[in-house]
């Protein structure tokens, strides 16, 4: 049993509640105990680091100090943007001069004793794939998946220290382990347009459109992603992308946790397929029902 502090991130309370819920559900099913960071606050996301790095580190470090106060040394988050900020704060605060500047903004200083990982990394590195396979009740046989990691889950490699920075395989391996056919998706780490959706929608339409186009060419029935912002750009904005690019994409964009939960036979209410904007039923219909043996 792993006991890890859990940092949900703001989007998990709003635009990506289905990611948060399905993450909690699969961790419970795989004996990973998550304890929410007490009274956690926003990591500052992209806006903070584009304004100032000390401010950004302080906003992240408040949460890491909360983890220290809980007597824990490891925190996991589902969101790559939170992950990147929390890890950057940890990394930069190894420099004593930077650390004192960031701590000067905080009520409670951060002593830098916490290791930050993505939930995906916890699954990939601390859970035996054979154990996951043994728990599968609905193998994903018959569905073709493009695994999209987004730009910062693995980059830059010196900071993220997880998987491969050009060709990550953690989600591919996970989806293959639960029976899906994984297409070799060449744009795994290309940027979707990140947080420009609101101020410069045209940029997101172009970059996310390129991803959808590549997935379609490979015959993918759906994408899986590990990032709330990527998911939102590809799913919620898919209609805008179609209008802007004169396209007709209808590609469902799942969180990998939703399909993992489906394979593990978890309660559908915890998986939140109804939250997806692009109707996932056709893609889910590709999954062959297991032959009745009993």
């Amino acid at each position: 049993m792993h006991n890890i502090a859990y940092y949900p991130g703001c989007s998990g309370q709003g635009t990506s509640t289905e990611y948060d819920r399905s993450t909690r559900a699969i961790c419970q099913a795989l004996d990973i105990a998550l304890t929410d960071v007490e009274d956690w606050s926003c990591c500052g996301s992209s806006p903070a680091h584009t304004v100032n790095h000390v401010l950004s580190a302080a906003l992240s470090a408040r949460n890491l100090a909360q983890v220290e106060a809980m007597g824990m040394t490891r925190v996991a988050t589902p969101c790559p943007s939170c992950l990147s900020n929390l890890r950057t704060a940890t990394h930069k605060m190894k420099d004593p001069d930077f650390q004192s500047k960031a701590n000067a903004l905080l009520d409670t200083p951060y002593r830098n004793t916490v290791d930050v990982q993505s939930v995906l990394q916890v699954l990939a590195e601390h859970v035996d794939p054979e154990y996951i396979k043994s728990k599968v009740v609905n193998p994903l046989t018959g569905i073709k998946i493009a695994c999209y990691y987004g730009c910062i889950m693995n980059r830059p490699p010196a900071l993220m220290q997880f998987d491969h920075h050009e060709n990550p395989m953690a989600m591919d391996n996970l989806m293959a382990a639960i029976g899906a056919e994984v297409v070799p998706f060449p744009l795994k780490v290309e940027c979707c347009g990140a947080s420009f959706g609101i101020p410069r929608g045209d940029i997101v339409h172009k970059l996310s459109g390129k991803l959808l186009d590549a997935g379609r060419r490979l015959g993918a029935d759906c994408f899986v992603t590990a990032c709330p912002l990527c998911q939102m750009n590809l799913d919620l904005r898919q209609g805008q992308i179609n209008d802007a690019l004169h396209e007709n994409f209808k590609i469902p964009i799942f969180y990998y946790t939703q399909l993992l939960g489906y394979a593990l036979g978890l309660d559908r209410a915890e998986l939140g397929f109804e939250k997806l904007c692009v109707d996932p039923r056709r893609a889910l219909g590709k999954i062959k029902q297991p032959a009745q043996t009993r």
Binding site: T15, D39, V51, H53, P156, I198, R200, G239
Partner: protein, 186 residues
């Protein structure tokens, strides 16, 4: 073609970018690998390798008034692929910090979005999506931003109407307060 006066290099600017980014700007030999991998070049006025060259040659105004530094998505492709291990994305960030401090915002909507986001965090301790959208629309004047998405998002309960106010929101507000008073650089 744009011509820059190399004799008019602003050496203090070069030194400041180096000091704030802890990167050795002169090791860039213009291979263009950063630009080759940059997904945003189509929207930039100067490509990222051109920004690097403009910094090397001390062209402060051109850099700080460029659109590119506001449109970098921090996707880390340049940093990951630089053969000389220059953290190029960090340099783009530092230039954006300096542009803000100098009062420039050539992509004003991008700046207003970031400000609205952080105001929301400062107020509640967490980002409140509907609130920050409202502030963004009011301050940018772009009142129809993404209204087409509203039915889809609201129908799926993806946009809570009320913010999550955390217990320690004063602690978070104090982070912003101390930052504004101290003007911390790094």
């Amino acid at each position: 073609m744009q011509i820059f006066d190399l004799a008019a290099a602003d050496h203090a600017f070069i030194a400041e970018v180096q000091a704030r980014s802890h990167q050795d700007i002169k090791t860039c030999y213009q291979c263009g690998n950063c630009t080759a991998g940059c997904p945003y070049t189509f929207a930039y006025d100067y490509s990222v390798s051109q920004i690097m060259r403009l910094i090397q040659t001390g062209q402060k105004d051109a850099v700080l008034k460029s659109r590119s530094i506001w449109l970098c998505g921090s996707c880390q492709s340049c940093t990951t692929r630089c053969p000389n291990n220059i953290d190029v994305a960090l340099i783009m960030d530092v230039c954006r910090h300096m542009a803000r401090e100098a009062g420039y915002a050539t992509e004003r909507a991008v700046k207003v979005f970031a400000d609205s986001f952080l105001n929301s965090v400062s107020r509640y301790g967490r980002a409140f999506e509907l609130g920050l959208m409202t502030e963004y629309m009011a301050r940018s004047g772009r009142i129809f931003t993404d209204v087409d998405l509203a039915p889809s998002a609201l129908m799926r309960n993806k946009l809570p109407f009320k913010p999550h106010r955390i217990q320690g929101r004063d602690q978070v507000a104090r982070i912003f307060e101390r930052f504004r008073k101290g003007g911390a650089h790094a």
